[in-house]
């Protein structure tokens, strides 16, 4: 009985997003085909059909290019993201727990933060060359900010009542950090990591436009050079699918780590 209603609820829950995607694909197909047959408005080369995009994906897998490019981008994203995660969490915690450091670091961060990371990409290429280094450094730089700032907020705004409760139970400073501040800040830290990961993905394409001979950004840029519109769209779609998949996985991980929160909501 309950599994049946559960299944039904799940189907309903999945129905809406599926419908939304189908409508999107339908509109795309209608515009593309309509332009070719009934009402020519623009050059048909400019908007391939969804099927042609899928076909170009299949071709790219056959030649092995797509796998190579996905791997190249993911490897850069992971390396850059991990460096950013270490630096961001570590500095966020340090700055959040030590006041003098906060006064020193905060203004620097506030000056750098509004500058779009892309503005530094040419500099990074200049400093680190056109190899892997410059792309990883660029991702690290971009992903650092959300991770750092959310970690810092999480550490700074721990409920003072919990601090009081722990101190009246005899917590030392070290206990307080380990058993109150860190767990209280964990949701914020995880949110920061998720944002940082999203941003890593966001900026890698741009980095690969500029200087790369592999990666999904390269794939798109290469397609542009040869005016292969299907392949350009295919590259974008692959990025979307990978980003979506990782976001779902990270949210699942978050729900597991912060079970006490989801349990409370149920």
């Amino acid at each position: 009985m309950s599994t049946q209603t559960g299944l039904k609820a799940r189907l309903v829950a999945m129905g809406a997003p599926t419908l939304s995607i189908l409508i999107f694909l339908g509109l795309w197909l209608a515009v593309s085909l309509g332009n070719r047959t009934v009402l020519p408005v623009f050059n048909p080369v400019l908007l391939p059909t969804p099927m042609e995009v899928v076909q170009s994906g299949i071709d790219a897998v056959r030649s092995g290019d797509l796998q190579r490019d996905i791997l190249a981008s993911l490897s850069r994203v992971f390396q850059g993201f991990i460096l950013a995660a270490i630096a961001g969490v570590f500095m966020g915690v340090a700055v959040g727990t030590w006041r003098p450091l906060e006064r020193l670091v905060e203004p620097m961060i506030e000056i750098l933060r509004p500058i779009p990371p892309l503005a530094f990409l040419p500099m990074m290429v200049l400093w680190f060359g056109i190899g892997e280094m410059s792309k990883i450094a660029f991702i690290t730089y971009a992903a650092f900010f959300p991770i750092f700032t959310t970690t810092l907020e999480g550490i700074k705004y721990v409920d003072p009542l919990l601090i009081r409760a722990a101190s009246s139970l005899g917590a030392s400073r070290a206990d307080m950090f380990r058993h109150v501040v860190l767990p209280a800040a964990l949701p914020a830290i995880i949110t920061g990591l998720r944002l940082g990961f999203g941003l890593s993905f966001f900026v890698i394409v741009a980095a690969e436009f500029i200087a790369a001979d592999s990666g999904l950004g390269y794939l798109i840029n290469d397609a542009r050079t040869f005016f292969m519109v299907s392949q350009m769209l295919m590259g974008a779609a692959v990025i979307g699918i990978i980003g979506f998949t990782f976001n779902v996985a990270l949210r699942a991980l978050e729900a597991r780590l912060l079970r006490w929160r989801s349990v409370a909501r149920a």
Binding site: L161, A165, L169, H179, L258, W260, A264
Partner: protein
């Protein structure tokens, strides 16, 4: 300056030892005098209620005993030693529960024993014992987000008790609970106090709660916050809210508190 002359913990309050000695304690926030010169000795294992209208400095006084705030003047001694900060000898129960939301009921209660580096099995055993004592056996593995207000406050009381403090400080612990839950918890609080014998300081707005629980009621006045009258209800437990003496005392205290509220002008 006069520490030496008054610091003697053996100085008797009635015929019992003084556990908490509040000596000329005042507290100012900017130019607001929250508390003016309070002198009060609380006997070991006594149950004291601080009663008074909003803003008379009840929480301020309790927080200073807990060590969360420092007196602007005077000093507070616990066991003859000045309070310099929070400590495991003084357990605190807050109106807002202050449970760690990422810890289960059991893990919350085991917090104190964990800090004392007790073994896992022992932590668990202590926590289970105290959860059972507050009537929460079977709810060990729930997170605070899944507990009702009354249950949360039971966990908070168990958490304070599991640390085995000699003083228990409670700031309107039942203030957020409905009337029925509140009365049940008052009865359980008395039972626990009779078993464990702690020195309890209990802040409340409720006159009947104070009479039901306390062996000493400190009525506080406003503008500035101060002790107005001390009443020691000498009624046998369990106290019946419908008894003649209970009602008479209730009426007396109501007059006292109302006079203080009227002093404030606005209600």
């Amino acid at each position: 300056m006069d520490i030496a002359s008054t610091a003697d913990p053996v100085a008797a309050t009635g015929d019992r030892l003084t556990k908490i000695s509040i000596q000329g304690v005042g507290k100012v926030f900017g130019d607001n005098i929250a508390l003016a010169k309070v002198d009060l000795d609380l006997a070991e294992n006594s149950f004291t209620c601080l009663l008074g209208p909003s803003g008379c400095g009840k929480s301020t006084l309790l927080n200073m005993i807990a060590g969360f705030a420092k007196p602007s003047s005077g000093q507070i001694l616990v066991d003859g030693k000045p309070v310099t900060g929070p400590g495991a000898d003084r357990g605190v129960v807050f109106q807002e529960y202050a449970l760690f939301p990422w810890r289960t009921a059991l893990e919350n209660v085991a917090f104190g024993p964990m800090l004392k580096r007790r073994g896992r099995a022992e932590q668990r055993e202590i926590a289970m014992h105290h959860l059972a004592k507050v009537g929460l056996a079977g709810h060990e593995h729930k997170y605070p987000g899944n507990l009702s207000g009354g249950m949360k406050q039971r966990v908070a009381i168990a958490r304070a008790l599991a640390n085995d403090p000699t003083v228990l400080l409670m700031d309107e612990p039942f203030g957020a609970l409905d009337a029925q839950t509140r009365e049940v918890l008052q009865e359980e609080m008395l039972r626990i106090w009779e078993q464990d014998r702690k020195t309890v300081v209990f802040v409340t707005h409720s006159i009947s709660e104070a009479i039901f629980l306390a062996d000493r009621i400190v009525v506080m006045g406003t503008r500035p916050g101060s002790v107005k009258e001390i009443v020691d209800p000498d009624l046998p437990h369990p106290r019946e809210r419908t008894e003649r003496e209970f009602i008479a005392l209730e009426r007396h205290l109501k007059h006292l508190v109302r006079a203080e509220v009227q002093k404030l002008g606005v209600i």
